[in-house]
Point group: C2
Chain length 377, copies 2
């Protein structure tokens, strides 16, 4: 690990000035002979340009950060999987910040932009505080926010559409003849919690179904909490015939409880999850789930950011990603779910972002996604 050669070393070896070395290495017009000498010296010495020095001079790092609560969350993971290859193709490296859902950490990341270790940031904050808004306004590098921001926040923004998403699910359940459709939510003081609660109300109204408090239970966005909440619901309202769950994990908890209670899914109770994570296809029965387009949101975000990195003065844009319903066995039964799968392919959220990406990438992504331990081929 000896000190590597610099353009100075090369200049000495080639008997030219560092300016010539730099010119040659950057492909600026130079006399044939000089080019040869420099390239030869660089080759012999195994020269690799120092990206830090380059960054200092050029004021660009070719790095972009993605900040989210936790990379372990399948939703963010889907985003990263979209973001990474796009950045790579554009010549940027990806930096990851797991903020552990901590507001202070998020603000640190925003302030950290002043350190100029990245050219831009994609951030998916848990909740949007005043601090976020002012930190965003003062940010020293372009930021794209995934997750609805207030109007006029003056920042590129990618949004999901929980409202339409819930609506899709309830229409689907209604179409299957369900009328006692319960809603199992996460905490109401979270952005998605609030949005989904409102969406549920609206969707019921649109279907002319009554809003029944007994059919709403609030827990948290985890499997165990979901199970607990569903148990409470069943105890209170034994006649539910469908469960709308605010995310897939809650839905998995619901499946556990229903199984234990001897209720058949979907014959007795249909279950719909949300986010359409990888888990949905693995569950049994496989889980009908509302995709809020994690992958597409990731892709939209990275494209907004790259665009802004080229054109810093553009007006901020807001992109809203359309939800889709992934119909599986937990609502229509195993038999029919298979027909759906054949018809649409088991496209799912994971694959959908790949549409616009290169073929090679898509293939590799799917391979990687399913490959086992220690990496496989």
């Amino acid at each position: 690990m000896a000190e590597g050669p610099t353009i100075n070393t090369i200049a000495r070896h080639a008997g030219v000035s560092i300016a010539s070395v730099s010119r040659v290495l950057n492909g600026l017009p130079t006399r044939e002979e000089t080019v040869r000498r420099v390239l030869r010296a660089a080759e012999e010495l195994g020269y690799v340009p120092n990206s830090v020095a380059r960054s200092l001079k050029s004021r660009r790092t070719n790095q972009v950060a993605f900040a989210m609560a936790d990379i372990g969350n399948p939703v963010y993971l889907a985003m990263v999987r979209e973001i990474q290859p796009v950045l790579r193709a554009a010549g940027y490296r990806l930096l990851l910040h797991s903020t552990d859902a901590d507001v202070a950490d998020e603000l640190d990341v925003l302030r950290g932009l002043g350190e100029r270790y990245v050219d831009g940031l994609i951030m998916s904050p848990l909740r949007v505080t005043e601090g976020h808004l002012s930190a965003l306004a003062a940010a020293r590098a372009p930021v794209v926010v995934i997750g609805s921001m207030p109007e006029g926040a003056g920042v590129d923004n990618v949004r999901a559409d929980s409202r339409t998403g819930v609506r899709l699910a309830l229409d689907h359940l209604y179409g299957l003849g369900r009328r006692r459709i319960a809603f199992v939510n996460g905490p109401a003081d979270t952005v998605p919690g609030a949005a989904r609660a409102a969406a549920y109300r609206e969707a019921l109204e649109a279907l002319d179904l009554p809003y029944d408090e007994d059919l709403v239970e609030v827990g948290d966005f985890y499997r165990a909490e979901g199970a607990r909440a569903v148990q409470a619901l069943l105890d209170r309202a034994g006649d539910v015939d469908a469960l709308m769950c605010a995310n897939d994990l809650i839905a998995l908890g619901a499946l556990d409880v229903l199984r234990r209670a001897g209720r058949r899914v979907p014959e007795d109770v249909a279950v719909v999850g949300m986010d359409d994570t990888d888990l949905a296809a693995v569950a049994w029965p496989s889980l009908t789930s509302v995709s809020l387009g994690s992958a597409r949101r990731g892709r939209a975000a990275v494209e907004l950011l790259l665009d802004r990195l080229e054109n810093g003065e553009r007006e901020p844009r807001v992109v809203t990603v359309e939800p889709r319903l992934a119909v599986r066995a937990s609502t229509v039964g195993v038999r029919e779910a298979e027909e759906y799968a054949e018809e649409y392919g088991e496209a799912g959220e994971a694959a959908e972002g790949g549409e616009a990406a290169g073929d090679a990438r898509k293939g590799a992504q799917q391979a990687g996604r399913t490959a086992g331990e220690e990496g496989i081929r």
Copy 2:
């Protein structure tokens, strides 16, 4: 996004030299009055030190890269989840490279170390070529490799122990009275494929069971391929009473096929997966799986790297992580699986790495892991 203040700006404002500014900001002994003036100016101007310039001078970037085939692979994901918080606590940022299982890309990453944009690298290569060995020998920054390296590769190395892992599984199945234990593998020309095939043979021998070619099928490490392979097995050897699968995805495919064939799991056929990914606990019946310690390997790797970053001249170390068997319903049935779960907690691979980590982190990690869309709390 105006040009930010530098120490020069501060120096002018405070009426001191840039050297004094630097000293104050780095906490070096300075006269009280000067300290006040500098801090005041820095505060007023909203100064943030430029990390690029700092890196150029200090020759440290405080960045570490992790290179693996695909972040979407749950095994690597588990590693990232361990690595990230440890790095963060040590003051390093994490950079992610998805190499798409491409050898050339991996070599590029190794060569890229010469650009000095990171202080160190954790790499989990798909297969180890001559090119890897020479690139590693020439690497311009410390590297830790996850995945078995040849003896004397002269690099810090973290290994799984497929042999013991398969052995654990087969002992378990044998103990349950199974004697026709088939093996569904991925491609034999991959490192894990080869290792696991050998391990299966050995384990059979140790149990005094005959090696029966009809009981071995090679497919690939994906769900659909696993399903196909298992179908072939069933067609050929209808009397199998257990399936050892070379990863969890193959095992999920096996569950699909068995269900369709009307074979009960585990009553008729017991199934064991490998890697103990998050999917194992979601499957139905929940999947007994051999944990090769993805999280623990990630943790070991990052600790080796941090250690080496402090002490570059240490002898290379090899760490081998012990496998564990996560017993679930696919071998012992639903009832008994629940008892196991209560006894050990649903610890699983995901949580295991957290042992040594701070409480706050662990809590946040679990929360994040299960939180839903748009980040929650």
